[in-house]
């Protein structure tokens, strides 16, 4: 079965924030909440600037799920980590546990009251009837039930952000890395060159390509 994952190619991301905008628009995410954001390192340094689009990574062993005191998280058959907002108490433990800063909390009411947690759903909605108004209002659009992939990945102009079954997108990424001969550092050997294939070798440096 598919295990839905995101993979962002730092060699291709041009920091256009198209994924952020697509997510905001598709799911009508409120002000102050960013389910996806683009992180840039070495900003402005020629040749060293790298950007990557980050959201919930739908971890196989999700720390948010482990720390939730009300057990509102679940994993779907496709490996997407979702939560039930009717159970969430907005405690913020998941935010502290998440290494990617994915859980977001809308601030509203008196004294900046922290609302129920909101995060990337891999455009898979939540525990309401699929494609219902309640699901859209609480969790956003359910594109997977429409046979589509997350809006951020499908809108990415340079196809830096890949979304889908981990094996399929790792294959796409691997072929890319092998063709251009660089850029495997972010996702590591296994993703870039294959899952432990005997005799697998790194590609020759760009200058030595035949």
């Amino acid at each position: 079965m598919a295990r839905m994952k995101f993979l962002c190619d730092a060699e291709r991301c041009i920091e256009c924030n198209g994924c952020v905008t697509a997510c905001k628009n598709e799911n009508e995410v409120p002000w102050g909440v960013n389910r996806r954001r683009v992180v840039t390192i070495n900003d402005g340094v020629v040749g060293a600037e790298k950007s990557i689009s980050v959201a919930c990574m739908h971890c196989s062993d999700a720390p948010c799920m482990a720390v939730c005191p009300v057990d509102c998280f679940y994993r779907t058959d496709d490996g997407v980590v979702l939560h039930d907002k009717d159970l969430c108490i907005g405690c913020g433990y998941c935010f502290y546990a998440c290494p990617f800063g994915a859980p977001q909390f809308p601030q509203d009411g008196a004294f900046g009251l922290r609302g129920k947690m909101d995060k990337c759903t891999f455009c898979a909605g939540g525990p309401e009837a699929d494609r219902s108004a309640a699901e859209f209002q609480k969790y956003g659009r359910n594109r997977l039930s429409e046979g589509k992939l997350p809006a951020c990945a499908e809108m990415c102009s340079t196809k830096a952000l890949l979304g889908g079954d981990g094996d399929v997108i790792a294959d796409i990424y691997r072929e890319r890395v092998l063709r251009r001969g660089k850029g495997s550092e972010v996702w590591g050997w296994g993703t870039a060159y294959g899952p432990g294939k005997p005799g697998a070798q790194p590609p020759a440096p760009a200058g030595q390509k035949s």
Partner: protein, 82 residues
């Protein structure tokens, strides 16, 4: 009087030994279980009308096949050069 002394001694003994128990001091972490509402599965929905994505309602395999084809649309080497 002797009876009262015995009673007080027994009470004192019980009180004195009350702190000598050895309850388990190590926290045992239990894996939580999802407490929320059940969620539907994507292949249980009808494909949208006027959309290219087509699968048989309730058929996981056909849904997976069409979503895999869609994923390969992200692969420009296959999409453009095939």
């Amino acid at each position: 009087m002797k009876k009262l002394l015995c009673l007080v001694a027994a009470f004192g003994l019980a009180l004195g030994l009350a702190a000598c128990g050895e309850p388990e001091q190590v926290v045992v972490y239990k894996q939580g279980k999802y407490q929320g509402k059940p969620d539907g599965r994507p292949w249980d929905s009808e494909p949208l009308a006027y959309e290219s994505a087509k699968w048989a309602k309730g058929d996981k395999v056909s849904w997976e096949t069409q979503i895999k084809n869609r994923q390969l649309g992200q692969h420009e080497h296959k999409r453009i050069y095939q």
